[in-house]
């Protein structure tokens, strides 16, 4: 009769060997040393299958907990080792930038269109309103902040777009990274509330930018303001719109899951939009660099800035339209 003790004794050799192989493989992965003894994948696979059989037997026969627990541990470890996907590295990053990101943006074109409209409409409407009735800026910000905006974009400012002259380019670089990527992530995550959150943050950020633009143009500061925002906005505004679009995709999966259950549709949507998040983060890093070191330089002639801005907008647009179309 097969008692638990005999079961253990019979297969002890297999189990010890598998445990040793697994420990060796994990240690090798941790240290990344090439000189460690090579591990036989075929041997691990064979022992893994055998351990799965033993686990099924042990469960069916209600063997004591220490046996099933040991088998569960080794099968889980082997499962993780065998089916682990490697998805990092420079090659993968390059493929993402060259093919996956622009392709994902094209695949989500309708979401991008809705997100862009949600962002731009409030921008334009609020900009016109504030331009016509400058008092309305006070319904967006208080009077002190409005005065700060004016001094930030004054023609006499050493560095454009800064509340205090003492802040250095580097400091602003850090600030833009933290603030802008935070806003983008917020736009995306709020999509979990049936997409409403993404719509809200897109419209809110649009309205705020519109109010700022309308107010400064009315004050006659349009040349400093537009030469400041023209270049980095190619990356910054596009990235915010894309993160909102990813949020809308997530929201739509909850509202209209199609043939899937809602949780399945949600997992599918976040899996698809993760690539957009990577791209958005990259774009905002570029935008932060431009905004801190290039846009703010008041000694550069406006004509140069507008020229570079035109190049950047064209580059971003053609990147999304053309890049990676013929790759598999």
């Amino acid at each position: 009769m097969m008692t638990p003790l005999r079961f253990e004794q019979t297969y002890e050799d297999d189990w010890t060997e598998l445990e040793a192989l697994l420990a060796g493989a994990v240690a090798r992965k941790g240290w990344r040393s090439a000189e460690a003894t090579p591990v036989s994948g075929a041997r691990i696979a064979a022992l893994y299958r055998r351990a799965c059989e033993h686990l099924a037997l042990a469960r069916a026969r209600c063997y004591p907990a220490h046996i099933t627990d040991r088998l569960e541990r080794m099968t889980t470890d082997a499962h993780q080792l065998i089916y682990h996907r490697r998805e990092f590295g420079i090659a993968r990053l390059r493929h993402m930038a060259a093919v996956e990101f622009p392709a994902a943006v094209r695949a989500h074109a309708s979401y991008v269109a809705v997100a862009a409209a949600t962002f731009l409409l409030p921008t334009i409407v609020v900009a016109i309103l504030v331009y016509r009735h400058p008092d309305m800026i006070l319904s967006v910000v208080d009077s002190e902040t409005a005065a700060t905006f004016e001094s930030m974009y004054a023609k006499s400012a050493d560095s454009i777009g800064r509340a205090r002259a003492a802040s250095t380019d580097w400091m602003m670089f850090g600030y833009y990274i933290r603030h802008n990527i935070g806003v983008a992530f917020q736009c995306f995550a709020a999509g979990l509330f049936a997409g409403c959150g993404s719509l809200f943050f897109l419209a809110y950020n649009g309205a705020f930018s519109g109010a700022l633009a309308g107010y400064l143009v009315e004050r006659g500061l349009s040349s400093t303001f537009f030469s400041f925002v023209a270049t980095h906005s190619a990356f910054e505004l596009t990235a915010i719109v894309l993160s909102g679009a990813a949020g809308l995709r997530v929201g739509q999966s909850l509202l209209a899951p199609g043939p899937l259950t809602r949780p399945q549709a949600l997992v599918q949507a976040t899996r698809d939009s993760a690539i957009l998040l990577y791209g958005v983060t990259g774009m905002l890093l570029v935008a932060a660099g431009i905004e801190a070191f290039w846009s703010s330089a008041s000694w550069l002639p406006s004509a140069v800035k507008y020229g570079v801005a035109a190049v950047c907008w064209t580059a971003v647009a053609s990147y999304f339209v053309l890049q990676g179309r013929h790759a598999s």
């Binding site: 638990p4 990092f88 400091m171 600030y175 990274i177 995550a189 709020a190 979990l192 976040t270």
Partner: protein, 207 residues
Amino acid sequence: MTPRLYAFLVDWIIRLFLMYAAWMAAAVMGGIGIAFALILLFALEWLYPVVFELTPSGATPGKRTFRLKVVMDNGLPVTAAASVTRNVLRVADFLPFVYGVAIVSVLLRRDCKRLGDIAAGTIVVYDRGAVSPPLIAGVDPIAPAVPLAPEDQAAVIAFAARAPRLTAERLDELAALAAPASGDAGRSGPDVTRRVLGVAQWVLGRR
């Protein structure tokens, strides 16, 4: 849920400490120091959990302390996309006040997932630690008085495995429940306990 809360607090304290150190350094270094401090703040807010979840342990230092780890729903190591998603969606879980949505979600669901976990297809699992085999010393094996179903055999062995951690009185109480196995139905006491442990020996395979 409690280990998760403790793990979160440990991570929070680690991050607070790092941030404090960075601001001290920034105060000395000025402009570029503040830039690094701000970028570090960004990294601690968003990347800290992602970086640690993608290590072989699959857990932040706090989670590792309390033997928790993040895995995919199918038990595989968490993927980069899933880790980024579950941590970016922390923003939604954080609403409407400190992790309100997350707490409700974790309390309502059997699998204790917060929204980020549901959306990313990940789950936080708890490592119980290895189960030690039953050590029954100085008890002679006794054949069970009645045939024992597999579930009953497992129960008797589990009882024997717990024996070293129970008081003598509690051990006798529990043994009384299993007494029919050794033919002592209705009786209790140290002798019955010894006989039930003897049955456990026999069922394990010691003859």
